[in-house]
C-alpha cells in the first residue's frame, strides 16, 4: 500500500519541486539587479515614512538620487540636523542642514469664540464642506474644524479640540503634507524657532466684520504696530503680520492687543526657554 501510493506521490512531487527550484534559481541569477550598497545604507538612515517633504515620492528614491548626484544641498526636513550629520558621515561629505519648519494654525476661532452660521451635515471633511458652503463658522478664513489634516499627517501631530486643530510641536516634523488638506489656507509652514510671536488670525475682513464673527479675530486696530519698537508688525488686507526676522520677542504687542481673546500669540514661553538654556 505504502509503496503503491506513497512512493510515487512523494517522488513525483519532489521532482516537480526540484525542477521549479532550479528554474527559480536560474532566473534569479540571470536577472539579478546589482544594488548599490550605499543606497541601501542611506535608505536605512532615512526615516522611511515616505512623507514627500523632500520633494521625492519616497525615501528610497531620495536615497537613490542622493547617492547618484552627491548633491550636498539635498535635505530631509523630517530628520533635521542629526540626520544630515549621519548622512554626511555615510557619504563622506558635509550635508546642508535643513531649515526646520513647523505647521502653524493661524486661527483661534474655537467653538466658544467663533460664531456659527448653519450646521453642516455632509461628508465630515473640510474640503467637502467647502464644496457645500463657506464653512460652519461665520468667518470664512477660519479653520473649518472638521480635521481633514489629521488624516493627512503621517506623524500623528494633529488633533481636534473644540472645533479647532491643535498641532503637537514635538511631533510635527515640518513635512508640509497637511498644507493641501486645508481649503482655507489657515494652516501654514513657518520656520521652527525656540520662541515666537505670531498673529493667530487669518481674517482678511474689515475690522467690524471680523469682530462680529469671532472674539479672537484681528481687527487691524494698529495698536500693536504703534507699540512695536522693531517695526516688526505690518498690516496687510486688514490683518496684522509679524515679520519673524525683525521680531525680538519683547512681548509689548501682547499687552496692548484689545481683542477679547488675544489675537497675538506667544508660542513657547520665553521664560521657560531661558531657564532651560541656563540649566
Amino acid at each position: 500500500m505504502i509503496s503503491d501510493v506513497f512512493i510515487p506521490a512523494v517522488s513525483s512531487l519532489g521532482a516537480v519541486a526540484l525542477a521549479l527550484g532550479l528554474i527559480i534559481h536560474f532566473v534569479s541569477k540571470k536577472f539579478h539587479v546589482e544594488e548599490d550598497p550605499t543606497v541601501k545604507l542611506v535608505n536605512g538612515i532615512l526615516p522611511g515614512v515616505n512623507c514627500g517633504a523632500c520633494g521625492f515620492p519616497s525615501c528610497g528614491q531620495f536615497a537613490e538620487v542622493l547617492v547618484e548626484t552627491r548633491n550636498s544641498t539635498m535635505t530631509c526636513p523630517v530628520g533635521g540636523a542629526d540626520l544630515a550629520a549621519k548622512l554626511g558621515e555615510a557619504l563622506g561629505m558635509t550635508m546642508a542642514e535643513p531649515k526646520p519648519q513647523l505647521a502653524v494654525l493661524l486661527c483661534q476661532g474655537n467653538n466658544d469664540v467663533a460664531r456659527q452660521t448653519a450646521e453642516y451635515l455632509g461628508i465630515q471633511d473640510c474640503w467637502a464642506a467647502t464644496q457645500a458652503f463657506a464653512g460652519p463658522k461665520q468667518c470664512r478664513y477660519s479653520c473649518i474644524g472638521l480635521g481633514s489634516c489629521i488624516a493627512w499627517c503621517d506623524f500623528g501631530a494633529m488633533r481636534l479640540e473644540n472645533g479647532l486643530i491643535v498641532i503637537d510641536k514635538d511631533l510635527c516634523t515640518g513635512c508640509a503634507a497637511c498644507i493641501p488638506a486645508c481649503p482655507t489656507g489657515v494652516l501654514v509652514m513657518q520656520d521652527k524657532k525656540a520662541s515666537r510671536y505670531f498673529i493667530a488670525c487669518n481674517s482678511r475682513d474689515r475690522g467690524a466684520a471680523t469682530k462680529k464673527a469671532c472674539d479672537a479675530g484681528c481687527t487691524a486696530c494698529q495698536k500693536c504696530v504703534k507699540v512695536c519698537e522693531d517695526n516688526a508688525i505690518v498690516i496687510e488686507e486688514f490683518l496684522a503680520r509679524i515679520v519673524q526676522d525683525k521680531c525680538t520677542a519683547c512681548g509689548k504687542c501682547i499687552e496692548v492687543c484689545p481683542t477679547k481673546v488675544n489675537c497675538i500669540r506667544l508660542e513657547n514661553d520665553l521664560k521657560a526657554v531661558k531657564q532651560k538654556q541656563a540649566s
Partner: protein
C-alpha cells in the same frame, strides 16, 4: 422663523426610499413563497430550521459587530437573508447544532473575516452550505420525503441520477411534481413554482437583472440538451436538470447576490455563463450529484478579476480621451 436652525448638506436633497434594509427584506419577501412551501412540504421541523438559522445568523452578526467594534448591523436584513438562504439550502432533518455551526461559518468566516457586508468575496450562505456538505456528507444528503410522518428519507432525483443512471432517475420523478415541489431535496429548492414567483418579485422591484439568471439557466439547458441529444441513455434531458436540485434557487437568489456578482452587464453575462457551465460539468461528470453551489463559489472568486477587466477598460477609454484633448 427664528426657531429655524438651517442645516447644510450637499445636493441632492431628495433621496430614494430604498435602503439596505428595504433591499434585503424584499429579497426575504421574495423567498417567502419558497419558505412557505418548505413548511408545507416538510412540516413544522422546516419552520424550526428556518427560525434557528435566521436567529443564529443574526446572533453571530451581532457578536461579530461587537467584537470588531463596528456599529450594529445585525438588523439590516443581510444576516436575515443569509440565515434564510442557508435554511432553504439544507435538508429539513439536519441536526440543529449543525445549523448553528453553519450560521457561524456563514457570518464569521465568510462575511466578517472579509470586512462585513459589502466586502465579502463569497456568498456567505453558500460557503456555509458547502462547509456543511463536505463536513457532514451523510447528514447533508439524506433527504426527507415530502409529507413524511416518520422522518422517512430517500435519495434526491439528482442523487439517483448519479448512482443509478438516467432511467432510474426519470422513473423516480415526474417533471410536473418537480415543478410544484413534491420531491426530495433541500427545504427551499424543491418547488420551482415558488422560486419563480419570488424571482418575479425581484425582477419587478428591479433588485436583480436578467443577465445572470438567464445566462446561467440558458447555459445549463443548452449544455445538458446537447449531451442528451448525443446519448439519451447516459444523459438526462435538460428539463430534468432545470427542475431538480438547487438550480433555480441558485440562479435567482444566490448567483444574483449583489455583493458577490460583477457590476457590469458584460461581467454579469460572463459570470452567469461560467456558473452555468461549471454546474453542468459537475452534474454530468463530477463526484457530487449537485454542482450549483460549487459553481457559484468558484465564479465568486473570479468576480474581482472580471471587475478589474472592466475597470481597465474604463481607464483605457478615458486615458485615450485625456491624451487627445
Amino acid at each position: 422663523m427664528q426657531s429655524v436652525k438651517l442645516k447644510v448638506s450637499y445636493a441632492p436633497f431628495v433621496r430614494t426610499k430604498d435602503s439596505i434594509e428595504s433591499v434585503m427584506y424584499n429579497v426575504a419577501l421574495a423567498l417567502a413563497p419558497a419558505t412557505v412551501m418548505s413548511v408545507y412540504l416538510f412540516g413544522m421541523r422546516a419552520l424550526l430550521v428556518n427560525l434557528v438559522c435566521i436567529a443564529s445568523c443574526i446572533g453571530f452578526e451581532w457578536l461579530m459587530d461587537t467584537i470588531r467594534k463596528k456599529p450594529a448591523s445585525c438588523l439590516d436584513g443581510s444576516a436575515f437573508v443569509t440565515g434564510l438562504l442557508l435554511a432553504l439550502n439544507v435538508p429539513s432533518n439536519l441536526p440543529l447544532w449543525m445549523l448553528v455551526v453553519g450560521s457561524f461559518i456563514a457570518i464569521a468566516a465568510a462575511k466578517h473575516v472579509f470586512g462585513g457586508l459589502g466586502h465579502n468575496v463569497f456568498n456567505p450562505a453558500l460557503v456555509a452550505r458547502v462547509f456543511l456538505l463536505v463536513s457532514f456528507p451523510a447528514a447533508m444528503t439524506s433527504w426527507p420525503v415530502p409529507f413524511a410522518v416518520d422522518m422517512e428519507t430517500a435519495a434526491s432525483p439528482l442523487g439517483i441520477l448519479k448512482t443509478d443512471g438516467v432511467e432510474a432517475a426519470m422513473k423516480s420523478l415526474d417533471l410536473m411534481s418537480g415543478f410544484y415541489g413534491t420531491m426530495n431535496g433541500s427545504m427551499g429548492e424543491t418547488s420551482s413554482l415558488a422560486l419563480l414567483v419570488g424571482a418575479g418579485w425581484l425582477f419587478y422591484k428591479r433588485y436583480i437583472t436578467v443577465y445572470i439568471p438567464f445566462t446561467l439557466l440558458g447555459s445549463v439547458f443548452l449544455f445538458t440538451a446537447i449531451f442528451h441529444l448525443i446519448d439519451p441513455a447516459a444523459y438526462a434531458p435538460p428539463l430534468f436538470h432545470m427542475v431538480t436540485g438547487g438550480l433555480l434557487l441558485g440562479a435567482f437568489f444566490m448567483a444574483t447576490d449583489m455583493v458577490t456578482s460583477p457590476l457590469s452587464v458584460r461581467g454579469q453575462i460572463i459570470f452567469g455563463l461560467g456558473c452555468g457551465l461549471l454546474t453542468a460539468v459537475i452534474r454530468l461528470w463530477g463526484g457530487y450529484p449537485e454542482g450549483i453551489s460549487f459553481a457559484i463559489l468558484i465564479m465568486n472568486g473570479f468576480v474581482p478579476l472580471i471587475d478589474s477587466w472592466d475597470l481597465n477598460d474604463r481607464k483605457a477609454i478615458h486615458h485615450k480621451k485625456l491624451q487627445t484633448t
